[in-house]
């Protein structure tokens, strides 16, 4: 048998049918569903008189639209948002799928809830009508976002029509320096390869620095594989993975656990596997980074200065000009001189317990800069509860942060948490597109530690100065 990558192995284990031209019907083990990209799919099923093929493997949770303020227990005020969440309530009930309603303590961002509940397991295929499904690749699962037509296709058939991507290896060697995190890894990779650098590929992240990451950190890395253009990001499962999964509500137990473990341990890329593209970065070379522009590839170390459009080539010259104008920045300005109005800690990229611990560590005994708006939005109700138990919530509140309920919140501004025109935000989310966090809003992406540091000083800050 020829050598295979991890992606090859998972792919081969899920091919239902392969046509002569290579188009394959791929079996889907887990289908995660949220309220924004699913109503038209369920409507399609109804119109065609179709059922959900595997309701027991379909898991739904509302996250994009839900307000994160405590008054949401009284219902969602925005009518369109409420209708969308109510549609999911109804669809979950009518089609008999697993559901975590808005006021269930297990509710949260779909990509945080899935792993937390043990739905995501190594070697699985996982899809969701959301591009950040890449997150689940941290478990060695082939996980990617799909559109609503494909959501309907998976609901009806538990399969997807796919063509295989190419294999790309991203190796992060050595160890990270103090103050450098999984977020800095994933942003730095995109800074190096560009937002289209992964197009047509599935990325496997490997190397000592990746192995040293917790599951939370690995999820942060894989989460942004999509920002690098890749269909999915993967990390081979190991003891860290198994330890995280064991005992979770939907993880296998007893003899099934042992059987699963035996298979999971075969899930790695063979030494002599073929890679279509290889990127290697030294862990020691990665600095705490921030974004300066309106694309996740606009990444620089915090010690750097705002670039000039003339530093670029081709279409990027005009794009950089447009970005600087939108962001209200001047070439040559020190990144650490950029003053901010708002801090957002949360999202499927950085809304897990470890992220909150890291931010709280910086904020302990400190206050946020006067006049700043700062919020922490835990990724799930269970993350929130744990953070309260560990005393993190008190640290955030004493520092001047708002302590919110779980949801996507200001990552995408489909709910009341939004930026106003010109408002500048230090955000732990994943996209700095024009208008992403609210029309005219200006987003700088960074790690939770860096966002916490910015909250203290009121400007983009090198977290290493505070530790």
């Amino acid at each position: 048998m020829s050598a295979k990558t991890l992606y090859d192995k998972i792919w081969d284990a899920h091919v239902v049918h392969e046509a002569e031209d290579g188009t394959s019907l791929l079996y889907i083990d887990r289908h995660l569903v949220h309220e924004v990209t699913s109503p038209q799919a369920f409507e399609g099923l109804r119109m065609a008189g179709r059922q959900v093929r595997k309701p027991e493997n379909t898991i739904a949770v509302p996250d994009h639209n839900v307000p994160t303020t405590p008054d949401r227990v009284n219902g969602i005020q925005n009518e369109e948002s409420r209708i969308q969440v109510e549609a999911l309530d109804k669809n979950a009930k009518d089609f008999g799928i697993h559901y975590y309603p808005v006021n269930d303590v297990r509710q949260g961002i779909v990509h945080i809830v899935g792993p937390e509940q043990g739905w995501t397991l190594p070697g699985m295929t996982v899809v969701c009508g959301d591009s950040h499904t890449a997150t689940h690749g941290a478990f060695g699962a082939l996980a990617h976002g799909i559109g609503t037509s494909e959501v309907e296709h998976v609901l009806a058939t538990q399969t997807l029509i796919q063509t295989k991507s190419k294999n790309m290896k991203v190796e992060i060697t050595g160890q990270l320096r103090p103050g450098v995190t999984a977020k800095d890894i994933t942003l730095s990779v995109i800074g190096k390869t560009g937002t289209a650098g992964g197009t047509g590929y599935v990325i496997e992240y490997c190397g000592e620095a990746i192995r040293s990451l917790s599951m939370e950190g690995r999820m942060t890395v894989c989460n942004m594989a999509i920002e690098g253009g890749a269909r999915a990001g993967l990390i081979a499962p190991d003891e860290t993975t198994f330890e995280y999964i064991k005992g979770r509500p939907h993880a296998p137990k007893g003899a099934q656990w042992e059987a699963a473990l035996t298979w999971w341990k075969t899930l790695y890329s063979d030494d002599d596997a073929h890679w279509d593209k290889v990127i290697t970065i030294k862990g020691e070379d990665i600095a705490p980074v921030v974004t300066w522009g309106t694309s996740p590839e606009d990444v620089l170390p915090i010690t750097d200065t705002v670039p000039s459009p003339e530093d670029f080539e081709g279409g990027k010259v005009d794009a950089a000009k447009r970005a600087l104008e939108y962001m209200g920045l001047t070439a040559g300005q020190k990144l650490s001189d950029i003053e901010i109005d708002t801090v957002f800690i949360g999202s499927c990229t950085n809304g897990r317990i470890e992220d909150l611990r890291a931010a709280a560590e910086i904020l302990k005994g400190k206050k946020i800069k006067d006049g700043l708006r700062a919020m922490v939005v835990p990724g799930s109700g269970l993350v929130r509860a744990q953070a309260e138990e560990e005393g993190l919530a008190d640290i955030f509140k004493e520092a001047g942060f708002e302590w919110r309920l779980a949801g996507c919140s200001m990552c995408l501004a489909m709910n009341p948490d939004q930026l106003s025109p010109g408002e500048r935000c230090a955000a732990t989310s994943n996209r700095n597109f024009e208008g992403r966090q609210g029309r005219g809003g200006r987003t700088h992406l960074m790690s939770p530690q860096m966002a916490a540091a910015a909250a203290v000083t009121g400007k983009l800050t090198d977290v290493r100065d505070l530790i």
């Binding site: 239902v16 990209t37 037509s149 794009a319």
Partner: protein
Amino acid sequence: MEKFEKLTGIAAPLPLINVDTDMIIPKQFLKTIKRSGLGVNLFDEMRYDDDGNEIPDFVLNKPQYRESEILVAGDNFGCGSSREHAPWAIKDFGIRCVIAPSFADIFFNNCFKNGILPIALPQDQIDVLMKDAEKGSNARMIVDLENQTITTSDGEVFPFEVDQFKKHCLLEGLDDIGLTMEKAPAIDAFEAKAGTERPWV
């Protein structure tokens, strides 16, 4: 699904790279539970000012491009979220074909599910098509899926590549789900086998 065979139409030039799905259809329009009616909000934040008035400089607001059926754009078109609202909005506006040097993966797939043909061509060819599109409404471009060619208003012909299965589905207007349902026995067999090999799933 509406068939795509041959399109003769006005091409709008949008020479921007990294046009993301938030630009194509901002999040406030994702709250719909329908697929239709999004065309009026296509490129909303570039197309309208804060008061909802049209921004005259934006290409689709210019008189000669209001009836565009083709869009010529820069690298990495459709990056960002998986929202199928992006191709729904494009289609609802009346655009059936997007031509760019490269596309983001999910957007690219979503187009085919909605009768939109995305075509990737090398940058030097895009440059020629962009110039042709800049001529406005007197210049019609022809996109012929059957023969896999684009013909400029000057008669210059550019062949393009397309996945043969996707081409077949577009030409025939085929519904993927119906096609897959025909493979139900293979899916049943797979589930039976996987149930033995990986019972924990």
